[in-house]
């Protein structure tokens, strides 16, 4: 392309010069010369044609690409000459851009495109407000038929079933979906077909199963002949009709279902009778659909709330609507915390990039100062300042592009690992992050911006350079004001790093606190066994007796100190929790708005509190006399007692009403605890005897100091002796807590990584500054030592400034960290840097970093040999 342009210009110039010769020859001919002689004369008068052609070409100004190639070549030479500088700069940038790219990738995956379906942009899910009870199938049907905003509304619920293929019954998790689910999502089956709205003809009318692609492979070995086969779901026959496409993982971000079944058949796999119950809040999990063209999310929200209000007035006893809002399908109720978390992460990653730029800026300024002689020489030889700046910027861009590419590579590796990450054994999780063009674009833009940022730092320096001065005095002249830019950069960088270190320490403290917090039970020395009797075909009336036999069987296991049972899920397991409205004893109109409280509800067996390690504050716990025909009794937590009855003492013996109208008497009060999440505010909770409201799914809870593996094996053996067809899943409470602690863990981990990166950046920054100032002043130091300066004086002279800057920077950073508490609180539970331990930790960490970073330069300064130095110059 260059060559092409060059020859083009050359041709045109040649033509013009020839035309000049012709014109001149014409004149000469007119004055009486022969034509040949005239042309010869004209040629001579014009002068060296080739030389002028060349000058013309140069006068056209050099081509952008041409000088770019020149610049890049020179930059490569310069960078190759200082490999240490280049390496440090590239690594620094790779870290910073890598961090930003990873955070962007996560944001892209979690917030921007959560569900892998066509036209996901217009797909919205409804997010119910706090304390609402309208997530039931009849409400969904009304919502679907009465709204005017969605093209169609689908719904799904999560189900856990025993799936029996004839050989090995095992637990599978799936979605019970409305018939139109796949059509609303606009996806096509990989194999066979999906079920449709037209297959629904009332309760239990559509016994069909669609397998997920992954489950089809893992459970059915990818056998295409499964279509048409009949399998047992909780002993009911269902026909496999198709397999979902490989990319489709359901419409929940974190859980991917193994199969899909029509929601009209959900009562066959749960014992609750969910389909026709309007008052339940777990008949469906979420509704979702594509907005009609032109309908805004705000209009749709208003529309849904209008239907909700209608439902609330029509069914005051069953429906408490609250306000719904819309969210992009996938995260829905997780969207806001996830957004806050990612925003916080982005902020920190941005800070890292900024610190890296400050770091590189001072490196570049030092680099440019070292090259002032070269720059001066080039200026003296007639190079324009613009050209020199372009050269410096080219170097910066080159470094930033290489660093950016390295960072991008790291982030792609990390993200692809993240997408395969399975943090919890036995619970399938997919984190839908996959690097795409947008990620590359972001990395490129970040690289260019940061290259520009740190590239312009030395600009002033170059612009002010006076070639005569520099060449005359050499580069050892007083650095003077030039230092202050670098000083400022170092302070900024250290301050940012101190903020990062502060936040990571805060996060670690927060995690430690939530790990050792009071949950209201003691997860240590426990073993939990999850069973669902409906999977083994037990009918509801046989459930309590069987569960009592299970507890008895477990109690005979050697080493078991306490054993108890809780229906559905124990507290803090899988963020499951059931809440129910309760009413004052004298309330007769049990509509939602009259509810006195909305406590968590657990059904427990006698012995549960002992097994869980929950202490009884007043009254009594349950015993086996609190059976089906005994008076209805309840145990509440301290918060409930305080809210409903004023005090623990008042509560014992008092009565209140449940949602179903039963009057229950409080017989005991237990300590407060956490129920659904670690970060929740204190909530009321009530515990009912499991025999008075039986449920087929339950957790057996065992307290024992025996080896967990032996214990679990013994428990499984005893349970299998009772019923060999019952799937049993054993885990310790702490293992299950991992799910609830996951957000805090992730937050701590990411903040920890950010803090480490910040620390590394500050070490390299301080090191660079100290090493540079030592090397600049070696001669001066030699003279000082020769004149009898003490070691401490030498150190003070050479590192005093760096240490001062470090102190100032750390101080500012710490202050900013404290001010940033609010931001941190989004990410970490109970984040407070106003914690003496954190404050001391930050000060110590920064001091340690300073020590590490200045160690080598200090050694170098101390080992100065005046004689050697003086001889050298």
């Amino acid at each position: 392309m260059n060559i092409f342009r060059r020859s083009q210009v050359a041709k045109e110039t040649e033509e013009e010069l020839l035309s000049h010769i012709q014109l001149r020859a014409d004149d000469l001919e007119r004055s009486g010369l022969e034509r040949a002689e005239a042309e010869r004369r004209a040629r001579i008068e014009l002068g060296g044609r080739e030389r002028y052609k060349e000058e013309c070409y140069e006068a056209m100004g050099s081509n952008f690409f041409e000088s770019l190639v020149q610049d890049v070549r020179l930059a490569l030479r310069v960078l190759r000459k200082s490999p240490g500088f280049t390496f440090a700069a590239v690594i620094t940038l790779a870290l910073a851009i890598g961090a930003n790219a990873v955070v962007f990738g996560i944001m892209d995956g979690l917030l921007l495109r959560t569900v892998n379906v066509p036209q996901w942009e217009s797909l919205w899910g409804t997010m119910a407000g706090e304390n609402t009870t309208w997530h039931s199938y009849p409400n969904y049907v009304d919502m679907r038929d009465r709204n005017h905003s969605f093209e169609a509304l689908a719904a799904f619920n999560m189900v856990f079933v025993g799936l029996d293929t004839g050989k090995d019954p095992s637990v599978a998790n799936g979605f019970a979906t409305s018939g139109n689910y796949f059509d609303v999502l606009r996806i096509q089956p990989y194999l066979g077909q999906f079920f449709h709205a037209s297959d629904e003809h009332g309760r239990n009318s559509a016994p069909f199963v669609v397998l997920s692609y992954a489950y089809w492979h893992s459970r059915f070995q990818g056998d295409p002949s499964v279509v048409g086969r009949v399998v047992g779901l909780n002993k009911h026959p269902f026909t496999i009709v198709g397999v979902a496409p490989p990319g489709f993982q359901g419409t929940l971000l974190f859980g991917s279902p193994e199969f899909y079944m029509p929601i009209v058949n959900q009562d066959q796999v749960s014992t609750e009778g969910l389909l026709n119950a309007r008052g339940t809040d777990h008949g469906i999990f979420e509704v979702l659909g594509h907005l009609k063209p032109g309908v805004t999310p705000a209009q749709a929200t208003a529309d849904l709330n209008r239907v909700g209000a209608y439902l609330e007035t029509t069914y005051p006893r069953e429906v408490g609507h609250g306000t719904a809002s819309l969210a992009h399908e996938g995260l829905t109720s997780f969207e806001r915390p996830a957004e806050a978390f990612i925003a916080g992460l982005m902020l920190l990653a941005g800070l890292i990039l900024l610190a890296a730029c400050a770091n590189l800026g001072s490196l570049f300024a030092a680099h440019a100062a070292d090259r002032s002689r070269e720059v001066a020489l080039r200026l003296a030889l007639g190079s324009s300042r613009r050209r020199i700046l372009r050269q410096l910027l080219t170097e910066a861009m080159l470094i930033s592009l290489v660093g950016g590419a390295a960072g991008l590579w790291v982030s792609v590796v990390l993200l692809s690992r993240l997408s395969k990450w399975q943090p919890f054994p036995g619970i399938s999780v997919h984190i839908p992050v996959s690097p795409d063009a947008r990620l590359y674009l972001v990395a490129l833009v970040l690289a260019l911006i940061s290259g520009f940022l740190f590239g312009i730092v030395p600009v002033r320096q170059v612009l002010r350079a006076n070639p005569y001065e520099v060449v005359k005095a050499g580069s050892t002249g007083r650095l003077g004001r030039r230092m202050t830019v670098r000083d400022l950069l170092l302070v900024i960088q250290i301050a940012i790093c101190a903020v990062l270190v502060t936040s990571s320490l805060v996060a670690v403290r927060g995690l430690a606190r939530s790990l050792h917090g009071n949950y209201g039970f003691d997860p240590r020395n426990t073993m939990l066994a999850a069973t669902n009797l409906s999977m083994a075909g037990y009918s509801m009336d046989k459930v309590p007796a069987m569960q009592k036999r299970m507890i008895d069987a477990i109690q005979t296991v050697p080493g078991v100190e306490h054993a108890g049972l809780v229906s559905d899920y124990p507290p803090l397991v899988l963020t499951a929790g059931t809440r129910e409205n309760v009413f004052k004893a004298e309330t007769t109109d049990l509509r939602n708005s009259n509810a006195a409280a909305n406590p968590y509800r657990y059904e427990i067996s006698p012995g549960y509190f002992g097994a869980a390690g929950t202490s009884l504050l007043a009254g009594r716990a349950f015993d086996w006399h609190d059976g089906k025909d005994a008076p209805p009794v309840v145990v509440v937590n301290r918060d409930f007692a305080g809210k409903m009855f004023g005090s623990v003492m008042n509560a014992v013996g008092s009565y209140y009403k449940l949602q179903d109208g039963r009057r229950v008497q409080v017989v005991g009060v237990v300590e407060d605890g956490k129920y659904q999440s670690i970060t929740e505010d204190q909530q009321p909770a009530m515990f009912l005897p499991f025999m008075q409201s039986p449920a087929s799914a339950s957790f057996l809870i065992v307290r024992s100091h025996r080896d967990p593996q032996q214990l679990a094996a013994a428990m499984r053996t005893n349970l299998h002796q009772l019923d060999s067809g019952l799937p049993v899943d054993t885990k310790t409470w702490n293992e299950l807590l991992a799910v609830v602690l996951f957000p805090s863990r992730v937050a701590t981990m990411s903040l920890g990584v950010m803090g480490m990166m910040g620390a590394m950046l500050s070490v390299t920054g301080i090191f660079g500054m100290a090493a540079y100032s030592v090397s600049k002043r070696l001669r001066e130091l030699g003279i000082r030592v020769a004149l009898g300066a003490q070691r401490i004086e030498v150190l003070q002279a050479v590192l005093g400034r760096t240490v001062k800057l470090l102190a100032v920077g750390s101080g500012i950073g710490l202050l900013l960290g404290i001010l940033a508490t609010k931001v941190l609180a989004y990410i970490v539970y109970q984040a407070t840097p106003r914690d003496p331990l954190v404050l001391t930790g930050v000060v110590l960490a920064m001091a340690l970093l300073g020590l590490v970073a200045t160690w080598i330069p200090a050694q170098r300064a101390l080992s100065v040999d005046p004689m050697m130095l003086l001889r050298e110059e």
Binding site: E16, S19, H20, Y52, C56, M60
Partner: protein, 113 residues
């Protein structure tokens, strides 16, 4: 030819602008016009004219287009752009100031100081 004056650095551009300001010219025409308006008092290397013309085109002070000369030769014609006209005015003023100052300075005699 020996009594021709050497060009001061930078004056060639101004002369070219002046020559072209009187009407579009090809390169050779510029030379003739400069000779004509300076009474052939200035020495200009013919070939040196072209790099100067190219530079002025690049600075967008001149624009060039191929055409046909009076005696039917293909030639590249130059004319002033708006920016060129503006620059020409400025440079003319600058030159006049300089020339006045120089003349006054050189005319000064001891008794006037």
């Amino acid at each position: 030819m020996t009594d021709q004056a050497q060009l001061l650095p930078g004056t060639l551009d101004l002369l070219i602008l002046k020559a072209v300001s009187l009407g579009p010219l090809h390169g050779y025409g510029v030379l003739l016009r400069i000779g004509q308006i300076t009474d052939s008092a200035l020495l200009i290397e013919q070939g040196a004219l072209y790099p100067a013309l190219f530079r002025l085109v690049r600075q967008r002070l001149l624009k060039a287009s191929w055409g046909v000369s009076d005696n039917n030769r293909r030639a590249k014609f130059y004319e002033l752009t708006a920016a060129g006209r503006k620059r020409f005015r400025e440079e003319t003023e600058g030159w006049n100031r300089l020339a006045t100052a120089m003349t006054a300075a050189l005319a000064a005699r001891a008794e006037e100081i």
